[in-house]
Point group: C2
Chain length 491, copies 2
């Protein structure tokens, strides 16, 4: 399985692409920039969805569904939004095909041209706020706390599986509030939900912060984000939550009557995470032996492999294996007992290792005699003999240990790769060689931000929340600054 597999040191980018394809997570389709998410990859995405959905509902949100298509004119209604989103997108211009006259197949019917073109949604603020207009009359109709699980399309020129694809799957929350404070509190709450999920389920530590004005979502007054750090020292934006102010309410004329009978514009937020999280998951933990999955998101948490030479042995081992499977499943652990006779144990070991199954249990004839099993953990590749008695409790604890170990390792890496610098030389040196987050003073101007980006490819990932205020000088311009911000090269 792992042969012909590029190592991280050889070529990190190639390692990632090969891993995604060979571990059966996803592959490129024949449709430019669109991926096929394969069953094993989709199984991880389902676990991500289920947990996030639970967290959204626990914070009072409901799901709904809005149209795939957005009339072209909607995009123009919010000035910043159109600049950000109405550029590279899929445009539907016709609604019918007809047989080609020369019998060569089907062609677009020129008589079936739409009066107004439809855009395949790149994000749904416009169509949703056009709908909310009819849902909101008075303060009694607020807040609206709605989320949508959907596909969206952005016509990216350079695509990479999960990280940047023309079509991707995501969730987009869109909420409407009576007051500014309530909307800000909602944006902040959802950032916390994302951070909680990414750290405690994906085992990926994040920095919570604010985007600079030039990195904000098109149409937002404030963009909150969580930033993670990959093994190659590049940052990855894992989720964003936007305080939209009254921009969309004004663009779509959405007002409500207050308790006092006054008409006020509604306050808005939106927030989203996407299949991009799959990329972050893969890149955070995996190694040169393949995928490493945190137990909480692994479709298969434990694989049991029987080792036998004849049917009698197989039957005896199967009996034990099934008993263990049942004990583990009673604890809510997902188990695959791999009793296929088409593949040898060695092949199966390699397969589960490559696919990142957190725990592998092997049972052979001698194990039966000794009432033992061999337990291998994927994160450290350590193996040990364990008694069959109480194996369920042992494995349950081991899964927790693995989950924690992955987070601890990723945390240590992020800490090690976060470097305060105080000079421009140091900045360049760290960005280019040590890589990771560079914590540096910035004069707060878009001009400096842009110049640093041009010179080093590093962008300001975020201004961390609760950022300590300290006097300093901008690492680039030398102008006065009140705080450090985090720079990095990013995905």
């Amino acid at each position: 399985m792992a042969k012909d597999f590029t190592t991280r040191a050889e070529d990190y980018s190639k390692w990632y692409n090969e891993l995604v394809v060979k571990a059966d997570l996803a592959e490129n389709s024949d449709v430019r920039g669109c991926m096929v998410i394969k069953p094993y990859g989709y199984g991880i995405w389902e676990k991500i969805q289920q947990q996030l959905d639970k967290m959204f509902k626990a914070t009072g949100h409901q799901n709904a569904y809005f149209p795939l298509f957005i009339p072209k004119s909607y995009l123009s209604k919010e000035a910043d939004h159109v600049e950000g989103f109405a550029k590279e997108c899929a445009v539907v211009t016709h609604y019918r095909l007809k047989n080609a006259e020369d019998g060569s197949g089907v062609v677009v019917d020129p008589n079936a041209k739409l009066e107004e073109e439809l855009i395949v949604r790149p994000t749904s603020e416009t169509i949703i706020w056009n709908t909310y207009k009819n849902w909101i009359q008075s303060y009694r109709d607020l807040p609206i706390l709605v989320n949508q699980w959907a596909n969206v399309v952005r016509w990216e020129m350079r695509t990479r599986l999960f990280l940047r694809t023309a079509e991707f799957l995501w969730q987009e929350g869109h909420t409407a509030h009576a007051t500014k404070d309530e909307a800000i509190a909602e944006s902040e709450q959802m950032l916390e939900v994302y951070a909680d999920f990414v750290e405690n389920y994906m085992a990926v530590p994040v920095v919570k912060g604010l985007k600079t004005p030039s990195e904000r979502f098109a149409g937002a007054l404030e963009t909150y984000c969580i930033e993670a750090l990959m093994q190659d020292g590049k940052a990855l934006q894992a989720g964003t939550s936007h305080f939209l102010g009254q921009n969309f309410a004004k663009a779509f004329d959405v007002k409500y009557a207050t308790k006092e009978g006054k008409q006020e514009y509604v306050w808005a937020t939106s927030w989203g995470v996407s299949t991009r999280l799959m990329g972050a998951l893969v890149m955070s933990h995996s190694d040169d032996n393949g995928l490493v999955l945190p137990p909480k998101l692994a479709p298969i948490q434990v694989a049991i492999v029987p080792i036998y030479k004849n049917e009698e042995q197989f039957n005896a081992i199967s009996e034990k294996a099934k008993a263990i499977q049942e004990q583990l499943e009673d604890r809510g652990i997902s188990v695959k007992f791999d009793d296929r006779d088409t593949h040898k144990p060695g092949w199966k070991f390699a397969e589960y290792e490559f696919k990142g199954v957190p725990v592998r249990i092997a049972i052979g004839p001698r194990d039966l005699e000794n009432n033992n099993v061999e337990v291998a953990r994927r994160d450290t590749l350590e193996k040990s003999l364990q008694s069959m008695d109480g194996i369920d409790a042992y494995v349950a604890q081991l899964l927790k240990d693995i989950q924690k170990n992955l987070l601890d390792k990723a945390k240590a890496r992020m800490e090690e790769k976060t470097t305060p610098v105080n000079s421009w030389e140091e900045f360049q040196e760290v960005i280019d060689n040590k890589t990771g987050f560079v914590s540096a003073h910035w004069d707060g101007t878009a001009e400096t931000e842009q110049k640093i980006k041009e010179l080093t490819k590093a962008t300001i990932r975020c201004i961390p929340l609760n950022n300590p205020q300290e006097e300093g000088k901008c690492v680039f311009s030398g102008k006065p600054s009140t705080q450090r911000v985090l720079f990095a090269k990013a995905y």
Copy 2:
């Protein structure tokens, strides 16, 4: 709530449309033919999805995700398929917008024309079989048992909420098999899964059958279907499962090596149900007082409404109500304790009745004194006083009774409205006046089928499975026939 609400007798079609909108299930969007599924409606769809997904997985299927877009040329690869699907569809021709020179908004950039147009998937056989080509080499790779939850688009000219919309949500299973028998068994198995779900969760009885050749899915050798009967006597196709033979394998050149090393084409099935089921659900059980939902799919199964005159009473009632809520939730029953002080009890009663909440519990001060609650069931509108002791067991049983009652009522209606006829006069009389399923002999020709459709608007809904064979004469042509088939006007 229910005032200004059309009755079924007045105008069945209007009743349906009003119900869907006023009960907050869905509404038309500004995008032609596309609906917005509102949170309450989406809550029902989520329950449908969850249960079906469980049943798909229990029969060995996994989920995956394939691209939204299909290259135009793919549709032409299977001759029947292109006739059926490559007509009314959304065509993407460009991938960029740009600012209009006159500043009036954005316009399509003529320089960003796609070399080959992309079709928004009306169904995914072509893109999926183009993918399976790379997944299948040998018999070891088979079967492939994959399902996709997705949105699809068919440019319908006349649309109705849930029943026929340009964009709709559905699942589409696509399986690949080594043998014909296995593929047929899969199609039949999935038909059983659908029938089981629709009858036992939606409480809608169905006839299982085969479509006639002219009603088959475009590209199928055999289409299995389940047909339900609505209250107005019109049939509704609730789900289909197709045996596709080797048509798509041949169109996309998908072969596998047998154990003996021979190259054979792969056998295929596909099967799907959609948000159309929501329409069937609404039309099967609801009445002139609003929605009636089967308990197994109701987002709120029990609503508890406190009746009080002052805070002291409210506090005392709340305490009891919350205790009951907890008892019910411990049994897995979803409960809403409606303690809003913005609405009066009468308004709440009307609201829950209109929204089809199966059981409503009211608690007033006198109930507290007598250790009683008032229980109202939505299906029969009956009310009764019940002791608070053991109320959880009572309600749990009541929910089962309601579920059963809805199915029994719908079954009785279907039986009553299934009429065997033996003459053309009788056929016309029943189709036009009594309505429902007409069981009649048919000579087996597409010509007769077409003529009957032109004359009466009735179509052959299906040839029931395990149909008794009997000698007879075609009700229209008088030619010999070996079996009766089911005709009806349909949605």
